[in-house]
Every structure is written in structure tokens, then in C-alpha cells.
Symmetry: C2
Subunit: 251 residues, 2 copies
Amino acid sequence: METILSVKNERVKQWKKLQTRKGREKAKRYLIEGFHLVEEAIHYDAPIVELLISEEHEDLAFKYPLDKQVMISKEIANQLSETPTTQGVFAVISLEKNQATPTFTKPFLCLDTVQDPGNLGTMIRTADAAGFGGVVLGSGSVDMYNSKVLRSMQGSHFHLPIFEGDLTEWFETFKQQNVPIYGTELNEAAVSYTSIPKTDAFAIVMGNEGNGMQADLLAKTTKNLYIPITGKAESLNVAVAAGILMFTLKK
Amino acid sequence: METILSVKNERVKQWKKLQTRKGREKAKRYLIEGFHLVEEAIHYDAPIVELLISEEHEDLAFKYPLDKQVMISKEIANQLSETPTTQGVFAVISLEKNQATPTFTKPFLCLDTVQDPGNLGTMIRTADAAGFGGVVLGSGSVDMYNSKVLRSMQGSHFHLPIFEGDLTEWFETFKQQNVPIYGTELNEAAVSYTSIPKTDAFAIVMGNEGNGMQADLLAKTTKNLYIPITGKAESLNVAVAAGILMFTLKK
């Protein structure tokens, strides 16, 4: 097994560049961290380039495919980690854009300019749990390979198709497929989500935490839903609202 | 209006101590930050001791009660802030434990050793939005006056009764009041939440993110609920699960 102990090693510099969106897009690779995510990557045959294991976790090496392992020093692990206490296990993964053909027999979650990494990752994880057919990440959203998004997704991007693209074009496709598009902007035309019958196929759109959905997209939705608030809170967290809608609307 | 410009001022030192649980409990005060929270505190008659306004926001001073205002320097605001970019507006509030008598005609959310501040705050905000009667924060949970909890609650603690106490004693009370207690631990006896009829009064218990509910509490629940997962995600985020349960179970 290869061993790299100096933080000044050129490889370490390359790995650290994966902590930024620019670095990830240039290298066409991203970095995941922690036992759970690495195990999910292996289990779901993600395109793993390298597995980095801190020397203090040498005993774990047997758990992982040997041919791709690189032993690293604790110091390197601390520099690569984006958590307060690292588990010392990382994987470098090829960043391959999803080219799958979407199937429209299951619901879709569309994310319009969502900016908080934790919210974005949690919504993708929830769509996975709810048995959705896929997620469409509209332009202007936070990068899905951001370390906080990866932590919140808990590996869901390994088993749920995530498409990045222009939501206007996706809305056209949904319409051609007779898939209703539900917006989530509180306005006069909005109807309570409880009035919508459960169905197999629909698209639900969650907007930006502060500004909601983009106006031109909102105009193209089939219906606009709201969740009635009976207490004194002004609104729900976007990931909580998405969870309520996804689990209630799907058949 | 009083003005304090030096970060070395004794008052600044006292305010900074409110950033820790120990400091808050000793001073019996806590600190909130930002326009929205401060406005909620004023609107709901929270026991405000002082309002701190950064000198660069002098123009905002007219919006707030004048008698409690202290003008502070930008440097002090930056030291008191626990956000990347501060809005420069703070309030020091008396920490008065909730002594209200609970009414059992509405549902209750019980939190058992929940550790993540964002999850805790989001669940309290959701209980508020769902029109719950109150929240019981069991011992061993994160401090509700932690700045991250306060940010996620978005002021819900100003309008929803939050009780801190021993959940075992609360469970006894719920039983005396014929209020069903729903646990949320995935085990053999668990039933799908969709099989529970909507009711006005019940208690739902959310457990620790990693370890779930404490075993002795779990044994005392009326029923144990789970949310069926149809995709490949292993679980839901606890705040998302709480949101789905609260909005689905209440009448």
C-alpha cells in the first residue's frame, strides 16, 4: 500500500483543491469523508479513484478494496477533513454528471436556487427515502459536491438520480409527460397541500430559503401549494416543508 | 442613549459570557441576535434587559424601545456575533424558566437527548407551526438558549410553551390525562404512522440522532411509530421525520 505522510506532498495539495467547487470541476473529482459515506460509495459502485485511510485507522484497511488504498498521516487527515473530529477515512471519487434517462412514473423533486447546503442535502436524502424517481438541481443552487451537502445527503446521490439543469426546460418535459408541477410559493392562488390527491407521478418545486421560487418558473407551475400554519411561527424550514409534501403527496 | 465602544468594557465581558451555557445560567440571561429575533422578542413582550445596536445601524434605533438601547461599536458587535456576517442588532433577555400550567387539549412534542442545535430548534419551530400545545425538552438535550438553537427556532420560544424536565414524570402526567404517547424507535413492535388516526391530543417523542430514544422511556410509550421508507436511504433526518409526524398526526 502506498503511504503519504507529508502535508507538503503534491498529492495532498491536489486533494485539498477538491474542497472548492472550482477545484472539483477542474479535477472532475470530489472528496467524501467518514465511514458511512465511504461504505455507501463502495456498496453502490461509485467510481472511486482513491481511498485515503489515516495511519491511526490502519486496522480498518482490510474493510476496503486494497488496490486503491493510500495510507495518510493524521496531519494530512486533519487538513483534508471538514468536520470537527475526523474519522480519518476519505474517498476521491470521479465527478461524472448524471446522463441517465429520467423515467416519469415516479415523483421528482426540483430545487430552485436553494442555497443552504444542509437543507439541500437533507431534501435529497428525504426524496430518496420517499422513493422519488429523481431530483433536478436547478442552476443557481449550491454545489451538490460541497462537503456539507455530501454529509447531509448521507450517500443518497449514490442511489438516486440527480440531474443538474435548467428548470424551465425540465418543466416543458414534465408538461409533455402530463406530470403536474406543484410550486410552493405562498400567494393568493395557492391551495392547501391537503386538497391534492395522492398520485404516483408529480414534480414538487422547493425555492430559495429567503426569496422563494423564481417568478418565471412560478408562472409555469400547474398549481401552487401551501402548508397551513395553525400556530404563530411565520414559516417552516424548507427541508421540513419538503419532507411533509413529499411524504403526503406520493401514493 | 448609552454608548459603549471599547471591547474591553466590563459590560462587553459580561455579554460575551452569555455565549456559554454556564455563563447564561449564572447570569440568568441569554443573548439573541438579528432583526427578526429581536423584533419577535419585542412583539411578544419577552423580558428584554438591554437592546444592543451597532453604531453603523444607528438609523434603526427608532424602531426599538429607546429606554433599553445601548449603542455599541462594530468591533463589539463582531465579538458578540455568532454568525459570519452580523446584522449588528442584539438583545439581552432574562432567562425565565417556563412556569405555565400545561393544557392537554393540544399535541405535545417531547425531545429526548436531542444533541444537534439545528435539529432541536427546527423541531420547536415546526411544533409551533403545527399548532402544538407545547414542547418538553428532556434532560440531556442541547441547551435551548444556544445561539444555533435560537437561530433555528426563529422566535418560536417566545410564543410556544417550552418545558424543561424529566420525561419519565411527563409520561406519567400524559397517562393520567389519557394522552397517547407515541415513540419513534424502529423496532419489531413499531407500527406505520399512517395507521394512526388523526387526533387533537397526543405526545410524540423524538430521540437522539444517533442512539434513538432512551430504553426506559421507550418502554413507557403507548405505541411506537415508524415512517415507511420506500427508497434506498437508511433513515430520515430527525427534524424532517418530526415534521412529517406532527403535521400528519394532528387533526
